[in-house]
Symmetry: C2
Subunit: 117 residues, 2 copies
Amino acid sequence: MVQFDEDAVFRALADPTRRAMLERLDDGPASVTALAEPFGVSLTAITQHVRLLEHAALITSVKDGRQRICSLERTTLQRAEDWLAERRVRWDKRLDRLEQHLDHTEPTNRSPKGPTR
Amino acid sequence: MVQFDEDAVFRALADPTRRAMLERLDDGPASVTALAEPFGVSLTAITQHVRLLEHAALITSVKDGRQRICSLERTTLQRAEDWLAERRVRWDKRLDRLEQHLDHTEPTNRSPKGPTR
């Protein structure tokens, strides 16, 4: 079972290079060297990004001879997505209840702006 | 149209207090003062969190007399969710293609570990 650490996952996603690396890994597993190439950054910088992504369980990596091959960990993407979906769905339900409530409330009791939709 | 700034959104989500504030706002709009209460942090600290969440368009806020009322911006949650879903779905499709490819490949050509499922 992959650990889901929200802090680490969202922090890892909050960087354009790391998001681009995940997009690259969408094409399939890649070595750290291959990952570094399109970004024009040093291997050291990419290695640090790899560590952060791996710490967040957004990717996994395995040694293959002299190379380290990285793969996308879709389970973590799924769990981050679920986290967001859960909040959004709960919010939708509450908005529905708010609307029902407003339907039974005198117009003078309403806030001048009403709920933001 | 709410601007979707991935860096800002994921950075805002990468903090347990800010995520808890979003959960609190799931119960409906709340003043900054009310938001601060359960977290045992200063109003100044909460105001900074509010700014970050508002900058990420995860919440909106309006002045209501002496108070500032915050509301969840579900559109942004939806877009962050879509961003993740898009990567996950593409990855699923690629895994399917990889499986099809492996079905037509000699076992000796396979990597010793095979794809991570």
